[in-house]
Symmetry: D2
Subunit: 432 residues, 4 copies
């Protein structure tokens, strides 16, 4: 039988708290889920360190990936199927790209990628194209199928409609994670009427468009996204945990470069420290492995590494104050000097972190586009960019909002048993 | 200030998907949550291997422990407060016991305790009474406070009303986990009207009783519990994962006893293998540490250990058939012999697993009691045991239901490239 | 175009709080919804007087009827379609029967039918077969189509599979009303996993069966039903309102028979009083019309009618005590005499009401069946009646539970300004 | 006992789908709920004719009034209690004002007030101050208590903090109806984190303020409100029903003024037609009474009245086109002439309806204020108006959006059996 259209004898379902059930009928999808590369996503949290702020946020990229697949399945099977603009030949490709789009995420990928200069999308493509179980399955569909899946994820695939299913301002990726992250954190934001949005999606040559009658549901989605960014994704406590994690990676790398003798040789990190991480090295990394090291490193003799690891493992995070880097750079220099005097290396213990978001950003000629904007299908058949129709979206469109904070170890700064005067000066400068 | 009544300047809240918010006002509670022993619960999943069946079930004992605390807080502050039967002096004790009752759980504790002959409750008591951050905080309340907390958890505390808050057929522990496990798995069962139950709880000298007007809500709770047991907790796929995990522990111990040379010396397991696990050893164990070993052991040269670890990590579990150990012991012996001939050690690859539950079991004179039964407070002030009033509960009361399954590696048994005839005989016997 | 398969140009949707959306594609369905007979259901509450107990229960038979239609639509289009046991020709018939099954309900039909000796199902058939807008539309499908719809509703249609969709222990009617009534009353009961049940339904020659793997979801449904009966449908306060309503009807009829001169001639009731209510008379009745009379009758000079109407309109209901008619008939006689002495006509002011339910009742040879039992489809293809497989259902099966209460006007009995001694005796007998 | 502080022996609860339970402890509140004026609200729908668009929207002002009471109860008992800015003496007043604020609503009050030139708030005050059961109960608290309740509702009470609980941009009234209307219609909008908002409310001398940390929850509330306005409250189908209702009232009044002889004399309407409606007249009106007349009037000989009533009762509403009154007045005149020629009185059959909303409007010096703006309590104790802090709110603040539609009877205009040419011209002008 042609593997690309082979169906399971009985549909399989996964119970999912967000979509109720994830339905799998295609043999290819079932086989992909069973690969070790996909199962590895069970050991990578969807929201990295956010569980330290919202204790329910322990869900993984595995569940999110299934969710993205399910949304695409519903779009192509329930909404697009039978419409002339939709090429049924692209069905399996769309499903696979949705399922696999996050395959290359590393452990705590936000900090991890920043410090080790890696890109998860690059590793997604390597897994799909390299010597892996995933590649073997995709290759059984057709020789060039892995390449096509990779192209969709890399947004270079020729059929932009397929690309837009996982890479636009209102793609299956975003629709799943907003709802899923809201569900697991327990926040009230993140809800929007996805069923309505799915019903009004229409395929066009180069993208998904939304029937004008669904505009309000889309506005609600945009607002949900805005709220989730500021309430969850950029939460200052999460950012504190990321700051500490980043500094752990930095310190470990620094020690390695200084030929420091670790009590447990960090073999899993060598290739990262040396910048020559292979696909096989990469696939052995997950959050359990990293936490194992953090656990051990709590007892390392290097006091910075052990302190940072203890902070991370026991959630003894840095506190923060508002900070304007443009205006307060002098103060930062002063604080750095005081920290050093107080015996705290400012490189590790005094950190500025910035977050910013564009709630809805659309392409304007001459500007570089990141994600495809949302287009409405008007009653007369015209296509109009969302912000030209929606007053609410227009009002917030393109407004970048940035938030800067300065992180520091409050417990140490408030401990007056040593360096009392210096700490007092620090507190005065920090206004705490 | 008296530490036992010290309040935080501002109430702290944790966003919780089940209870919406967990409220903390007491300094003692806040400090306990911050200890490293309590934070370790973030690395112990509430439902062990259930995430391999229900992918949303990635929540940890940390979230459950906060939930139990919150339910007790609501009972004592919103319902019991001001009633003559309730001794306000027991408030903090009740809160602490609720928060800490699961503190001694080990990684994947179901299999773990079975193989290494450990008891998590014993370790809970050791943590509370031993040289730990938790003990330091409890001791600040009063010298004998740690002992009292331990007694409540051990059910030996003199005030049985306090004990019943966390150890009865309808305690805060069960009320939290039923709802939480339902929420994270996404199943429809597990819902009941807790708010109603809380409102009709009344303190009596030796236990919590339920006003008769709340009987239907309690029936609903009992039915939820019954459904959760059979739909989630005893799910045959989860039991397959537990079977494999158990066999991994067995194999590693066996190899250690045979002085096998591990490529990575399993230092974290030594004390377990030798049966002399100290509190300090124990506290270093969590699921990340264990998964690290499983990850490494996938490449061990011992083919049983590596195969089992690969199965666990990549979710390539055993399949099962119904099995009646009382009647089919001969068949089991036959299968064992065939497995051995086929090159599969039956000790590791042919496993009977049984689950059983009493949906509602109440104490009858002369029988040993496990959990306190549920008592109703009648309008005339009498107390009656629930099953004497509720037809539904009476109907299912004391009916033990047991389910036996025989687990085996289907992939191997279906692979006819080797030992074809023997495998055929095995399949005939298994009727697959 | 053939009217029976004519589709709307664009699917119409109704926003529904229970099913999210009700989808209509068929022209016939759309036209039926627009008839005045169907729109009349907007003026008949689904739960009669229950809104006086649960204030949210203001939903009407209109919304329920749409819900039943939607469930059947999902069963036949999403689950049955394409299966050999399902005859696609029966699709439209099933949808119409589901939509119209409650068409003949009268205002406050429980009390109404009892007093005036009417049967709503009979009127449903009359509307379908008589000179109505509904009949005109059904006749456009085919000459015998109205008759077939009527037969399905009357359970005499030859294809019992179609009948079972709206008349079995687990039909679309019950699945909708349990969920809908739970939603609008706000109770925690009434929830079950309908999506799961729909997925495991299978068509068989003479009925719908349920795959064995869905047994737990069905158990949950049976328990929900049990809880809803006792928590909502038989709520003693609702029964008090029904008692009063029944007595209003009785009194008005009695006065009419006595040629009493009403200040507002109750023209809408004449045919009811005389027992010759035509279809046209019937269709003019709805709850607004009845409430209009109750409103006016509050000022009637007959003190019984005006008192009862004031009680109903202003929710000044009767109170109740438990009562065992088998044992306490003597006490009832005594009370009757005392009521008469106290100036209260016991015919109207001292009322015994009984409710009873069989949580799950299945046909046994020789007994009369009411609703088709639930049958499970076993893995080996066998069919087994549910209670033979489910311990829970077996435990509660066939257990009829009855509840008797004695209703009386507490305000009057407690008012000691008149007939003080008699009232005291009454209170003593009532033990209040 | 002092009636103003008298408590019920046992707390009473109402099951409420939105707030789960409404709790009543105060004797005064319990007695007010039992009055006939309050019970009358059960016969006034919360959303008037919206049930013709969203079939779930059958909930009444009774449920909403209980909800507003419950929110205020939670604010004053759980949040304000014990804070120095809150005067506990105002507690009962706040509860009563919340419960009774909508008491004067008439049947279908939107159209009703417009046509008969009435104001529901005026009648609320009359009920509170007049010869009513409500007044008797309030007077038992203290002689001037009814007057104080009336003043709070009229926003003239001296303590503006109390006024702001039911009359500000984020009062208990709005918080209840947004959630309740969303729940009963089933739309996805209308949700916001009320629990969070309640937790961050703080009493100040002249109003409720919101702690800055709750700003995002308030933004979410503002957006919900915006969506509910455009998705539910201003829904064009609902407005069509209102148009017809308005025209029914107009026609009946016109006929009365022309001494038309009604087959059923509309006694309930006389005082409305004559503009001398007393409190006693008013209290006899409810939606059942009005529907009774509409029912009867379907058979009136005046063809306009009977046609409009049949349209309303059977939901055969007018259709609409977009219309710009500023630009298209000439077209309207042309259409009017054509309608007249076609035999349709344009006064009744060609209607322009406009809706407009300010999503968030705040007071600026010199402008007239309608509702108090929302003020944030900054960390440093300052008070700042919301739109100065929130970019989202600032973006939409003060943007009035208006929507105009032209309504007409499409069935008639498309019926080419008569006046074919004229109707064709009409269709051309309407572009349908």
């Amino acid at each position: 039988m042609d593997y690309s259209v082979e169906k399971l004898r009985e549909e399989k379902v996964f119970k999912d708290p967000v979509h109720r059930y994830v339905h799998v009928r295609d043999r290819v999808i079932w086989d992909l889920i069973g690969t070790k590369e996909f199962q590895r996503l069970r050991r990578i949290k969807q929201l990295g360190t956010t569980f330290l702020t919202f204790h329910g946020a322990e869900h993984t990229r595995f569940t999110h990936s299934l969710g993205v697949y399910e949304i695409i399945r519903r779009i192509v099977d329930d909404v697009f199927d039978g419409r002339p603009e939709w090429n049924k030949e692209e069905r399996l490709l769309s499903l696979c790209a949705g399922l696999l789009h996050d395959l290359g995420h590393g452990p705590f990928s936000h900090s991890f990628e920043k410090v080790f200069n890696l890109d998860h999308e690059e590793f997604t493509l390597k897994i799909i194209l390299g010597d892996t179980e995933v590649n073997k399955i995709l290759s059984k569909v057709s020789e060039d199928f892995p390449k096509k899946v990779a192209e969709v994820i890399a947004k270079t695939y020729k059929n932009k409609l397929v690309v837009s299913l996982i890479s636009s301002q209102i793609d299956a990726d975003r629709m799943d994670y907003l709802q899923r992250d809201a569900y697991f954190t327990g926040v009230s934001y993140g809800h929007f009427d996805m069923e309505r949005i799915l019903r009004v999606m229409r395929p066009r040559e180069d993208q998904v468009v939304i029937k004008h009658s669904g505009m309000h549901a889309v506005e609600d989605y945009i607002m949900s996204r805005y709220q989730m960014y500021w309430q969850v994704y950029f939460h200052p406590v999460t950012r504190s945990a990321e700051v500490i994690l980043t500094k752990i990676f930095h310190r470990a790398k620094h020690l390695y470069e200084q030929s420091y003798s670790f009590s447990l040789p960090p073999v899993h990190f060598y290739s990262l420290f040396e910048g020559n991480c292979t696909l096989q090295d990469y696939l052995k990394m997950d959050e359990a492995v990293f936490q194992y090291y953090f656990q051990i490193w709590q007892d390392e003799k290097d006091s910075i590494l052990s302190d940072l690891c203890r902070r991370f493992m026991n959630r003894n995070l840095f506190k923060y104050v508002e900070f304007d880097p443009a205006k307060e750079y002098k103060k930062l220099a002063e604080l750095s000097a005081l920290f050093a005097k107080a015996g705290l290396d400012p490189e590790y213990y005094l950190v500025v972190d910035s977050s910013s978001d564009l709630p809805y950003d659309f392409y304007r000629p001459g500007e570089e586009e990141e994600r495809l904007p949302i287009h409405l299908l008007m009653k007369n058949g015209d296509i109009r960019e969302l912000s030209r129709e929606s007053e609410i979206v227009d009002a917030i469109s393109g407004k970048r909002r940035t938030d800067h904070k300065l992180y520091y170890p409050a417990d140490f700064i408030h401990d007056d048993r040593t360096k009392r005067n210096i700490k007092k000066q620090i507190r005065t400068l920090l206004e705490i």
